[in-house]
Every structure is written in C-alpha cells, then in structure tokens.
Symmetry: C2
Subunit: 252 residues, 2 copies
DNA sequence: AGACTTTCTTGATGCGGATCAAGTCATTTT
DNA sequence: AAAATGACTTGATCCGCATCAAGAAAGTCT
C-alpha cells in the first residue's frame, strides 16, 4: 500500500518542490530535477521575531535569503545616525544580493513580524550554477530584476510628488499581495508610518496626511496598518501623474 | 628575429590583454588565459558620435557594452514625455545589465561625446561563464556592485540636500577620473547642467546656483564644462552632511 | 487597571528648492 | 558680421513638503 514513510508537516513544507512560492522564487522555471538539486543546498532555520536582525551591515556574507513567511525591511545606516530604508520584502523575495560584491553585507535586514526564511549559501549556489546553466540564467535574471526595480525607485525619488509616491507604494503592495494569492485591495502593512516615510523620502507627517487625504477622497479606507484600496484605477491615475483623477474630484 | 607579423595600431588596441582599462573592466581578476577566451567573444564596432543612441528602451537585448572611450548617459523615458537620467558612464564601465531581466532594454543609452564601446554578446558570455567559474564570479560581483551603487543613489535622492547631492556628484567624477589615470581635481564634464539636474533630482537653476555658490566659497572653479576642484576635503565634509565646512565659512 | 511609551494624527509655520521670467554668453547659421 | 539658437546664469516669487508643536490613540509595563 502507501509508503510507510511518515510525511510530517515539516517534511512537506521544507522542500522547494512543495513550496507554494516556488513560482516566484529561485526555482522559477527550473526543471523538477534541478529544483531538487537546488533544494539540497538550502538551509531552513528557526523563525525570526519582530525586531530580529537577519543580518547587519558589515556582517560577513555567506548566504542569500528568501523570505518564506512574514516580512523584512532592509536599510542602510548612514553616517549621521539616521537610516535609509531600502525595501520591504515579502515571501518569495530574495535578499542579500548587494553583498555579493565584496563578501560583506552593506546593509541590514530586520524582521517586521514573525518571519521565516530559506538560506542559500552563496558559494554553493555559485558552484551549482556552474553546472546548472538554467540556474545561472535565473540568477542573472534576478540580479538584473533587482537593478530594474531600484531604477524605478530612482525615478520615484527623483521626480515624483509625495502623492505619487504613496500611491505607487500602495499599488506595489497591492500587486505583490495579489501575486501571492492574497487580496489586492485589503491588506495589512507591517511597517510603521515612519518607515514608509523614510522609504519614500517623506516625513512621517506627510505620509499620515496623505493617508487621511486619500481616505477623504474615497481612494481607500485606512485604519492603522489595515488598508483597503477602494479605487485602484484612480490610484493608478495618480501614479501616472496624469491627474485627471484630481480634476474629477475638484470639479464638484 | 622578431616576428614578421605586422602589429598595427588596431591590433594592439583591439584586445583586452592590451587594454589599459582591463583592471576596471570585466577581465578584472581573470587569468591571462581566461582573458583571452573572453576576448574571443567581444565585438568592437565603429565609434558613436555625440547624440547617437547605443540602444533605446524597448530594443531587443543582445549585448552588454563596456565604454572604452568617451562617455554615455543612460536614462529611462517616463510616461509623461520627460526622462529620468540614470547614470553617466566612463571608460571601463559596463552598461545594459538591467536588460538581462527580460531580454529587452528598459532604458536608453546615448553618447555624450565621441565614444567607443566593446560589445559582449550576452548569450555567449553566459555560455562562457558556465565553463569559467571566475568569469561567472566576476559577473555576479559586477551585478551586485551595480545594485550597491543604485542603493547609494537612493540615499542621495531620498535624504540629501541639493548641496550634498552636487558635492557627491562632483566627487564621484573626481574619484572615477582618478581611477582612470586622469586628474582628480581638473576635468571636463560631458553633460549639460540640465542633465546633471535631472540626474540629481534638481532643477537646472538650482544646479547653476550651486556651482556659483561653490565657486564663491572657493570650493572649486568652474567655467562651463570645465571644473577644477580646489578644496576636495571640504567637499567631502559637505557630502557627509557634517557641515563643519559651512560654519568655518560663516564665522567670518 | 493605571502609568508610561510609542505611534499616529492634525494644525501652524517656515524654508529649500521649483518655477517663472529675463538677461548673458557661446555656438552655429547664413 | 549679423542673426538665430541653445546653454547657462541670475533674480523674484511661489509652493510643496519639512519642521515644530501638541494632542489623541494604541500598545506595553508594572
């Protein structure tokens, strides 16, 4: 009859081939055999709690990490005590790519809530990618994608108004939650207003005011960390800067 | 006697092993044999003139490019007609990394002056890096470095004042010219004030005023595109935001 | 539960840098 | 050489967002 092997919950979860995130993650596009081989080098540790560091700037780099549940903030401490928030990362996202450069982490990563990660020892990943061209290709694509995403942030910070920035931010989460099978219009943000502001190059107060304003304009409903997007198309209009949305408001 | 083979100027120039940029470029850290193999896939075309596009956003991606002389601006056209300048690239710098992602260029690259480049067909580079671990490693490092540099720009655009931005910009060129064997304190900028402003998230007028102010404060001498840095340490102070420089000015 | 702390919101004010408007200088055209 | 064009500078004004200040709400500690 069926195999005697006991398949515990852990056994199921702890393998790329059974992971619901596989289509977003490193194994994306690999053959089952290749996924198996990749799986062989991945380490899964105990979860982190809110406020725990996954790594800090200056730490020796040995592993890339993929978030499997929870969320993570990456930031780079700058000379004068402050910090620049570099990103908020959701399950399936790979972090630590900036550290390959010189074998040291240049920024820090901290759990925003209870968070589980897969660790991928980089030297092993590198060896593996030498004998698995599809993995190598995937790595190049992921690194390139990271560059493309940062490029978009450059435009955001260089050219967009506060309103456009927050709308972009919200829609980014909307899209990413949707990709992961969650609601695109109803979600919880795990970071503080302060962290949102820091990330977007805005003061906390501005972020708070914008949430209020967006709510007044029936673009969304917000209560602390709980956000419900009520008019996603108009949020996209705002992102574009083509403020037809605004005029339709003000012509009351 | 010496070989009968005639070594023309072109023959000398057109090979990584004879290229003075090799230590800044892809071959960095490779063995002579490996450099030779890499050299085998590199294509060198006729130079571009000021205003020529190396590629445009949307173009099919096939090659990475290294500037060998001259300079290049990369930018991403944004929806509403404007553009975001993403970078200015000097000899030895590799561009096009953002296009690996989905085989299409997401941004455009245009020559700021007469410019020569090496083209590296990416599919060949990929194959080669499968059999040359050191090349693969180098590629990972370069991609990671690109991410790190964009990260720094995020901090610049998110947190720094106009003054800090321009000082950072100038010192970046100073360092890069120095690396390339040119003066760190006396150089020509190949881009317009408008392009500098766009890159730094500032209006042209602000850039112009800052040049004037820096000159008044004896930080530099500027005449159109010709810049002479007169007080590099104080420019570094400005970058830090630790404005001891400023106080020493104002306490006259 | 009550005190304390932190986060968020809201209002008032101020400033840095954008925008608008001319004018100057350099380069190209004819 | 004069005229046209584009790049840069300089001044005046304005506005978006930061900063300052205070209160409200939520979370934490004892």
């Amino acid at each position: 009859m069926t195999s005697r092997k006991v398949v515990t919950f852990e056994n199921i979860k702890v393998a790329c081939k059974n992971c619901s995130l596989a289509t977003l993650c490193l194994p994306m596009g690999l053959t089952p055999d290749d996924v198996e081989r990749l799986d062989g080098i991945i380490k899964r540790g105990r979860p982190y709690h809110r406020g725990d560091h996954l790594y800090r700037g200056g730490d020796k780099f040995h592993s890339l990490r993929v978030i499997t549940s929870g969320s993570v903030k990456t930031y780079s401490p700058n000379e004068d005590g402050g910090e620049q928030v570099l990103g908020f990362h959701l399950p399936g996202e790979l972090i630590g790519l900036d550290a390959i450069q010189d074998d040291n982490h240049t920024c820090s990563a901290i759990a925003l809530e209870t968070t589980a990660v897969c660790e991928i020892p980089f030297s092993q990943l590198e060896s593996l990618s030498c004998i698995m061209p599809s993995l190598q290709h995937q790595m190049y694509r992921l690194l390139s994608r990271e560059i493309g995403q940062e490029t978009e942030m450059l435009t955001l910070l260089g050219k967009k108004s506060a309103e456009e920035r927050l709308a972009t931010f919200l829609l980014s989460f909307s899209e990413r939650f949707k990709q992961r099978g969650f609601s695109a219009s109803d979600f919880f943000l795990s970071m503080s207003r302060h962290e949102i502001g820091n990330y977007l190059g805005l003061a906390v107060e501005t972020v708070s005011r914008l949430f209020t304003r967006f709510q007044d304009e029936n673009l969304l409903h917000v209560e602390r960390k709980h956000v419900q997007l009520l008019d996603i198309p108009r949020l996209y209009d705002i992102v574009q800067g083509t403020d037809s949305a605004k005029s339709s408001q003000s012509r009351i």
